[in-house]
Amino acid sequence: MSKFRKKGKKGQPAVNTAALPDIVFMLLFFFMVTTVMRETSLKVINVTPKATEVSKLERKSLVSYIYIGKPIKALQSAFGTAPRIQLNDAFKTKEDLFQFVEMERDERDEVERNMITWSLKVDQKTKMGIVTDVKQELRKANALKINYSTKKTDKILD
């Protein structure tokens, strides 16, 4: 027995971390497969209402979003608190909707152009006036298949 023992020899062997990258990669692939890229950053407050009779939207590539709501806190000094329409990444007015519909159509294949669902993501505190305006514009543009985006719930509380 020597006087100076080498340090560490006696302690527990280190946990083998060779498999750690594999685990992390597994997680990574899981998230890559199950999620989609965030396309827009929200500029409006958007809490969609709850409903019981919801159905799932199939085929994400065939859904276009229209956001309606108050501007978020950071933008309220510049844009006020009146509800606004957000298309892609910018505030727009209802007059821009027609063009938006055409542009969204152009992005899709010709056969799929009439299968686009227009998902209205409207904040629950919004008044119906602006929503009705948007609906009328969509009708003019012949974009008839719409979806009122709502969260699923089991019971509506009053």
Partner: protein
Amino acid sequence: MAKREISEINAGSMADIAFLLLIFFLVTTTMDTDTGLIRRLPPPPEDIPEDIILKQRNIFEILVNANDQLLVEGDYIQVTELREKAKEFIKSNPSFPVVADKTNASYPDMPEFKMEEVPVFGNMLVSKQVISLQNDNGTSYEMYIKVQNELIAAYKELRNELANQKFGKSYDEIEKQAGSSETIKEQKKAIKKVYPQRISEAEPKRVGGAE
């Protein structure tokens, strides 16, 4: 000379790289699948045939005012009562198809029935019901969705009832299996024909069956 071993590539930082990627994807992607109430808007105003006038008794009138109060067929009710009322109206009773006048207290303001050919059931009486929804510009979107939700639920419950009674399974099941066989597809069509979803709302003054 001693044999020189090829040193292994140090893979210690592999985990760090993978973590970095993982965090990148966590931040830039979203997982939420969009759910909602799918509806179809009526075609643009110029495409609609002018003024389809429906008899008042065939219309289930729902008005929502700016204070989110409901007026259904002239009565002030709560949104929780709406589903039952709507169901009662949509279903009504085909055995009194011609009682039209309001004086008959036992059968006030219920829709007319019409003999129609339904795929599986053959000829049967189908209600001419239309639900008309009119909201104020000041109605909150939350309330509007609540009303829409109750109406869709009313139709769904009636369809389920009928499907259970005739085919021994719910309409939801039939809808799910509709792709698999022709008979189930026919069953789905039949039920849809008996209880067609007619919710009219775009131009409240010009009520037309939207479906």
